[in-house]
């Protein structure tokens, strides 16, 4: 008897999945048109652009502004008027679990995009480790995917990237509007040498992005004649780095290079350097520490820190001013380091979709057509300058910026264009 009861309850639940699943889809559709635009025409065909970002947890401070950039582009496009009979909506999902970006969650989100026929392109993810889980899926589905911020080189280049393109080895569906860590790491190493720093101690957070960045810096710094005294990986959740810093200090480094994010320890590491008697030692990191959080956590010790960002400085680009103002108006906060990137990425996809609609005689375009158009992007005007993609999906506009923190704010120091 008990088994029967159990079985029937199980069956009822199974039925419920179907129900909620269906209703879920419909509600999402209707609701998103409202979030997309008030001018959405009733009965218009909905085209969705998937957005996958970590918008909760430790990554939220950079994930949310990035998502906002993409959402803003979609809203603007819709307001401006999508091609007749169509309306654009954002379909955004969170890939953070328990406050930390999660590859499995990202993969699940991507599957949700792929299985929704209305999704013609996607933006995201934020993190490289998540991208690794997603690329095989978009590759399989032929869904154009542009990341604003995933900088790990292996996502687009070399055997690593090839291994991610499982289903269609000849087709690339993953693009990014940021430069890669090899460029960022190289830029960091160049800049460090330019400052005359000879001996580096490298610390990374043992995550895809941080370790990747640190590994490139490690190699580049050596090849530029520097000495690497040590290279250590942090344990997640650790808060006390004094022992590690004591170990580093004993070797007498000129600079601590940190590969990782503020959330994974970048700010604390800097803060504790002073306690470990290393206040005078230089500290250099990547874009992972390019957030306000870093200044908050490190406090006074933040001053003097250098970091690179894999994007041009928006204030230096006249094309950015309009975006920055609009962003502030829409979200009532300042732009994040990757907001403009995401905005640009979304616009590239929207343009590709519109082009496909026009070419296809106002029918809902196929994903393959959209993908083709995205891949063909060249000299696309954006707040971060003209954008084009090379055959790997990387931007042809590899401009990096170096900042130095002074009085608790990042100040432009140098712009490095690696194309030259």
């Amino acid at each position: 008897m008990q088994t029967i009861a159990a079985t029937s309850r199980l069956a009822a639940l199974a039925a419920l999945v179907g129900l909620v699943g269906c209703s879920g889809t419909t509600t999402t559709t209707t609701s998103q048109s409202s979030s997309g635009s008030a001018s959405a025409v009733a009965g218009a065909t909905v085209i969705k652009i998937g957005i996958d970002m970590p918008v909760s947890g430790a990554d939220a401070s950079t994930g949310i502004p990035t998502r906002n950039g993409a959402v803003q582009a979609i809203e603007e496009a819709d307001r401006k008027g999508a091609p007749a009979g169509f309306t654009f909506v954002a379909y955004d999902l969170d890939d953070a679990v328990q406050g930390v970006h999660d590859p499995a969650q990202g993969a699940q989100n991507t599957r949700a995009f792929v299985s929704d026929d209305a999704v013609l392109a996607m933006i995201g993810p934020f993190n490289s480790s998540v991208a690794r889980a997603e690329i095989p899926i978009t590759n399989d589905a032929g869904l154009a995917q542009i990341s604003a911020s995933a900088t790990n080189p292996g996502l687009t280049k070399g055997p690593d990237a090839a291994s991610l393109r499982t289903s269609h080895p000849d087709v690339n569906s993953f693009f990014r509007v940021c430069t890669t860590d090899d460029r960022q790491g190289a830029a960091g190493a160049q800049f460090a040498r330019k400052l005359g720093l000879k001996k580096a101690f490298i610390v990374d957070d043992n995550e895809t992005y941080g370790k990747g960045l640190a590994d490139v810096f490690d190699a580049q710094f050596r090849s530029l004649g520097g000495t690497v005294l040590g290279h250590e990986h942090l344990t997640k959740g650790q808060t006390d780095y004094k022992a590690l810093l004591t170990k580093a200090n004993a070797l007498g480094p000129d600079v601590i290079f940190y590969g990782g994010t503020t959330a994974t320890g970048g700010g604390l590491l800097r803060k504790q350097m002073r306690d470990a008697g290393m206040a005078a030692t230089a500290y250099l990191g990547g874009d992972g520490i390019s957030d306000a959080e870093f200044e908050t956590v490190a406090g006074d010790a933040a001053n003097g820190v250098y970091y690179t960002v894999a994007a041009p400085e928006t204030s230096k680009l006249p094309s950015a001013a309009g975006f920055v103002a609009a962003y502030k108006k829409r979200w009532s906060t300042d732009v994040g380091p990757y907001s403009a990137n995401a905005y640009a990425a979304a616009n590239i996809e929207i343009a590709a979709i519109e082009k496909a609609i026009v070419a296809g005689g106002a029918k809902t375009p196929a994903r393959a057509d959209v993908l083709k158009n995205v891949a063909a992007t060249n000299g696309f005007p954006s707040p971060i300058g003209p954008i084009g993609f090379d055959k790997n999906g990387d931007t042809t506009n590899p401009i990096l910026t170096v900042y130095k923190i002074a009085n608790g704010k990042g100040v432009f120091v140098d712009q490095i264009n690696l194309k030259s």
Binding site: T7, R9, L10, G18, G24, Q108, S115, S167
Partner: protein, 349 residues
Amino acid sequence: MTRRHAALGFLGLALVVYPFVDRNNSHVDFLANAGAFILLALGLNIVVGFAGLLDLGYAAFFAIGSYSYAMLASQQFGIHVPFWLMLLIAPVVAALFGLLLGAPTLRLRGDYLAIVTLGFGEIVPQTFLNLSQYTNGPNGISSLDQPSLFGHAFGFSATPYYYVLLGLIALGILAARNLQNSRLGRAWMAIREDELAARHMGINTTATKLAAFALGASFSGLAGVVYAAKLDLVSPDEFGFNVSVLVLSMLVLGGMGNIWGVIVGSFVLSFINSFLLPQSTSLAHAAGFVNVDFTNYRFMLYGVILVTMMLFRPEGLIPSRQRAAEFHEAILDPALAAQEQSEYEGVAR
């Protein structure tokens, strides 16, 4: 008996035809993921539900199963063991690790055992992360071999995995039921009830507990293989303490010791996790509450489930008769219980 068989048959049939009825791949994908967790829960149920050993590091065996597949069926070392063979190998590997951990620790008292397993659960993924020369560290191992059946590759559709899991769960249920009604199953129950008396029945308590550990681990290893193949990736941060607690919550919610309870518990929690919370979040966002994210509070939910269930219905929603009785009637005279406990601890070595 016939009604029960009919109900089961109907359920089975419904599950088999489901992907043909619901063409939404994300639903099938969800069900396949839920299936992996059902498999995990069935395994943990052997350890916690049957043998009464609290294992807080169960995700470690999941990791071991996943990494076995990733290392033995990918470009990583150029080894390409077929998926179907891995379904045999990985459970054995996981079981061996279960023995390795269990052998020295199973004489510990229940709560100490829980902590040791928790420690083990922390060490294993950290080790996979740190040994980056073999595991690619934080990047994990990607592009694993795609299973294929009669020349048809599984690809990225969830449907084939859904069927594989359906089959494995059916086998898992069968295995769990067989175990429960056997010499070994009785020995587990006996140990849970009274370890000292069990020894007097000629039961080798250490070996019997080890068997539970190894068998539970093997389920986890099996789930790991399928999960890794389906995700096409393993990375060290998928196997943390929260996964162990999630599976434990499934057991607590459904009813420890009851196979159907455990299945329902894991299904309900998977459903809430992967469907209800994200969908409600979307709804909230649509309604203008853009900063609401219900998925953030899934762990709050686990916590509430664990606490309220233990306080008010410790036997779970669909309890095993025996467990229900234990929780509700076992509150004997506390002094007597304490005395017996100390008496027993005095003699146990």
